[in-house]
């Protein structure tokens, strides 16, 4: 789902105030992009709103790279559509 990837990349780039090109699939949120836990919460809430899904709190620690974040969004989108 390339669209999902780009939509989430742009959302993350805005929250961490970086260029979307810096948010590569495997750039580490905390070490490389300067993210903190409150920004991670914003990303989670942003995905919930955009895709009308509910992501449980324990998934927060899984949001460490764009690849992982897209996987979480995909998982809950599939659950919603199942």
């Amino acid at each position: 789902m390339p669209d999902l990837e780009n939509e989430i990349r742009n959302m993350i780039a805005e929250i961490v105030e970086k260029d979307p090109a810096q948010v590569t699939l495997d750039a580490k949120f905390f070490e490389e992009l300067g993210m903190d836990s409150m920004m991670a919460l914003e990303i989670m809430a942003g995905m919930e709103k955009k895709y009308k899904i509910t992501i449980p709190e324990e998934k927060l620690t899984q949001l460490t790279t764009l690849r992982e974040t897209v996987a979480v969004a995909k998982e809950y989108l599939e659950k919603k559509n199942a």
Binding site: M38, L41, A45
Partner: protein, 144 residues
């Protein structure tokens, strides 16, 4: 619903930094509607601005944050001597109209996403049916 005496028991902020006068509606953790009356006696009007009283936008945000604290308050969360400290993490806000003396600021807050120790809320401020500001605030809570 909550008068000023009850509000003062809940809010960690004290005079002269109480930005909520009354709570009209409260569904703990789900929704709050609160009021602040703006008087010409507000100390900030002396400098903001001389001859042209405009309530500072940052204080509207503070009122939103205090309403959110009351919304999330529950007696069960207060354990013994441990007090909750609230830290604002981010604010996304748009101001639409200025507030002045004589206005009654109405604030409505609802949660967007709440996890243990942190939350993101949506807040709307209005006065006399006119939209004053809308915002999203994120904050963390620590019990110390």
């Amino acid at each position: 619903m909550l008068n000023i005496e009850e509000i003062q028991k809940i809010l960690p902020q004290k005079f002269p930094f109480l930005m909520i006068d009354r709570v009209l509606e409260l569904e703990p953790g789900k929704k709050i509607v609160a009021l602040k009356n703006i008087s010409i006696n507000e100390s900030f009007f002396g400098g903001h601005f001389p001859g042209q009283p405009v309530m500072p936008g940052v204080l509207i945000i503070e009122a939103m944050a205090q309403a959110a604290i009351i919304m999330f308050y529950s007696p069960e969360n207060v354990s013994g001597d441990k007090k909750a400290s609230y830290y604002l993490a981010s604010v996304k806000v748009r101001f639409l109209h200025p507030l002045t003396a004589g206005d009654q600021l109405k604030i409505e807050v609802e949660p967007i996403k709440v996890i243990s120790g942190a939350g993101l809320v949506k807040a709307q401020a209005s006065a006399g049916g006119k939209e004053i500001a809308s915002a999203e605030l994120s904050f963390s809570v620590k019990h110390v």
